[in-house]
């Protein structure tokens, strides 16, 4: 029963209008979040593809007369210890950071889908072996496993991509394996067997499309995670080497001036956060739509 005021049964209209208004507000707020995320990601895409459109300057150009300047009209994000414009470096850094994340996610998703499908479709022993191996790989903290890889290969952009790809691969593989098995045991696949479909047809027509359907959503959310891991590793000095404007590396360089110039560190950091938040909002919204469709 609804709220009652002064002993009057709350049958009256105010409940319905307030609750309907609340639902509308919820939807509007969701849409605003989605629009904001989309807008940010669009700007980010421009920064990756054509950074000069947003920041025509040179990210490496030092200005010794204007070091550690606080944000103002001419330097939106201020300047760093060498007098380089932080806004320009953040914009140009997007290319490095996002490329690393996208490439790493591509490695993880491709490998994960292949391994996951293989495990999900094969018989018990092969599946068990693969799954146990994936379990064991998940037992390493991602950051440490990536560091092990980089210790062997040495730091650099390519090592970073492969390291992040490899450490996030098991999770994708496990999800795809679970989905594949779910689809394999589903009513519609069993029904298709009674139609006399051959096994290759069964896999191609029903199992594959349904098992990899949610992958794009996972990839979007995984992309956010890759951005985070990349920032962490570069922060520790295991990514692109200075003076490349990479977000994690910028954070690492800036920390020594944190007490006098917070903007060198915090503003690039916020770019990372905004990217991950936007990707997560987008991924969750997409996921919710998929779930809604399948219910």
């Amino acid at each position: 029963m609804t709220v009652t005021l002064d002993g009057v049964p709350a049958g009256a209209t105010f409940t319905s209008t307030t609750e309907r208004a609340a639902a509308a507000t919820r939807r509007r707020r969701l849409r605003i979040g989605l629009i904001a995320a989309g807008a940010y990601l669009t700007v980010l895409l421009v920064a990756v593809l054509w950074p000069a459109a947003l920041a025509p300057g040179d990210p490496l150009a030092a200005d010794p007369l204007n070091v550690l300047a606080a944000p103002d009209g001419s330097h939106w994000f201020g300047t760093d210890n060498l007098g380089r414009d932080v806004w320009t470096r953040v914009v140009h850094g997007a290319g490095h950071s996002i490329t690393i994340a996208v490439a790493a996610t591509a490695v993880a998703v491709t490998g994960g889908v292949l391994l996951g499908l293989l495990a999900g479709l094969s018989h018990r022993i092969a599946d068990e072996t693969l799954s146990r191996t994936l379990d064991a790989l998940s037992a390493f903290p991602t950051l440490l496993l990536a560091m092990l890889f980089i210790a062997i290969t040495g730091p650099g952009t390519v090592s970073l991509i492969i390291a992040i790809g490899l450490v996030t691969l098991p999770r994708h593989a496990r999800v795809v394996r679970g989905l594949t098995q779910l689809v394999r045991r589903s009513g519609y696949v069993e029904q298709a067997v009674t139609f006399g479909l051959s096994r290759p047809r069964l896999v191609l027509r029903h199992i594959l499309p349904n098992a990899i359907g949610p992958i794009p959503v996972l990839a979007v959310i995984g992309l956010g995670e890759a951005v985070l891991i990349a920032a962490g590793l570069s922060f520790l000095g295991m990514g692109p080497q200075p003076p490349s404007p990479e977000w994690g590396a910028m954070l690492s360089e800036g920390r020594n001036y944190l007490h006098i110039a917070w903007w060198i560190t915090i503003l690039p950091g916020l770019a990372v956060t905004a990217t991950v938040v936007s990707l997560t909002v987008l991924g969750r919204h997409w996921q919710a739509r998929l779930d809604g469709r399948h219910r």
Partner: protein, 311 residues
């Protein structure tokens, strides 16, 4: 709650041992798969003399068949022998042992704080009693989960230490120095756990048994605490197992940010100077921690949910 039968406990422990074995093997294979001579890999940036090379070959049994090498490696591992750092000229166990305590203290403190925060947030914001609070907290959680932990640390440092001078900027000596690193490490954990807990509570509140419980005349608070929260704990315990298992990784970065002694410094030095025995040991140790914590989480789930005890 009752006691889970021995068989289901043993099965979980056995599964943990298998994962641990595969993890150790993976680390070993990574060493072998490294490009170039294994001896070179093990030396890393250390001094390279014929004497040291001979030592390495003897210790790792590189002159013996591959199977013997591998079994020997496992044998040493089982006995807690993590090998020798050729760079530092010391046993790895000693190097790690010295620095383990600060990292463990930080991890345990952060885990405790994270769980407490998550429980409070979830209980206060679950259901649809205070929609504005719920929105506020889910927005904050999203922000915390999406922010690199070291950035959280840097922001805290910048505000609380540099601006207001409340906490020391670096060091690990006193308890005050533990506060900011703990909060930094705990916040993302709290964010993630609170999300899962609240989702779980919300789902449980829609279940028929909650309707039954309400039909008995219970207050909403009792329905929440006695019925819904226990159901929400199940996924949260599994997630917590994973989170705590990977805390060691997060601690590495946070120790850097706050200039704390600990495994983080050891690991970072080892990686940059390619001190492979130390790197391998840290990675294997972290996997062991993960397995132990996750097995514990599995056992806690067994206690919470009697349905899992069926074989």
């Amino acid at each position: 709650m009752g006691r889970p039968p021995l068989r289901s406990v043993l099965r979980r422990v056995a599964a943990g041992v298998v994962v641990l074995w595969v993890a150790a093997t993976t680390a070993y294979l990574a060493l072998l798969a490294a490009p170039g001579d294994t001896v070179d890999t093990l030396i890393g940036d250390g001094v390279d003399t014929p004497q040291i090379r001979a030592d390495i070959i003897a210790e790792w049994g590189l002159d013996r068949p591959a199977v013997v090498q591998y079994l020997d490696y496992l044998w040493r591992l089982v006995h807690g022998d993590l090998g020798r750092s050729y760079l530092l000229q010391r046993p790895v166990a000693e190097v790690i042992g010295e620095q383990l305590a600060p990292t463990l203290i930080l991890s345990v403190a952060a885990a405790t704080l994270g769980v407490l925060l998550a429980l409070i947030i979830a209980v206060v914001t679950a259901g649809d009693r205070r929609p504005w609070l719920r929105r506020l907290s889910s927005g904050t959680e999203l922000l915390l989960v999406s922010t690199p932990s070291f950035l959280i640390g840097l922001v805290l440092l910048s505000v609380l230490s540099f601006r207001f001078g409340l906490f020391p900027v670096a060091g690990g000596a006193d308890l005050r120095a533990l506060v900011l690193p703990t909060i930094t490490l705990a916040l993302p954990i709290a964010g993630l756990l609170a999300q899962v807990l609240r989702d779980g509570v919300d789902r449980a509140l829609d279940e028929p048994f909650v309707l039954t419980a309400r039909s008995r005349g219970l207050t909403e608070r009792v329905v929440l605490a006695r019925h819904a929260l226990r159901h929400a704990l199940l996924p949260a315990v599994t997630l917590a197992g994973w989170l705590f298992g990977t805390l060691l990784g997060g601690a590495v970065i946070i120790e850097q940010v706050f200039g704390r002694p600990g495994l983080g410094q050891v690991t970072l030095n080892a990686v940059t100077s390619k001190d492979m025995p130390v790197v391998l040991a840290v990675v294997t140790l972290s996997a062991a921690v993960y397995v132990v914590v996750n097995t514990a989480a599995d056992l806690v789930s067994l206690v919470i949910d009697p349905r899992l005890r069926r074989s």
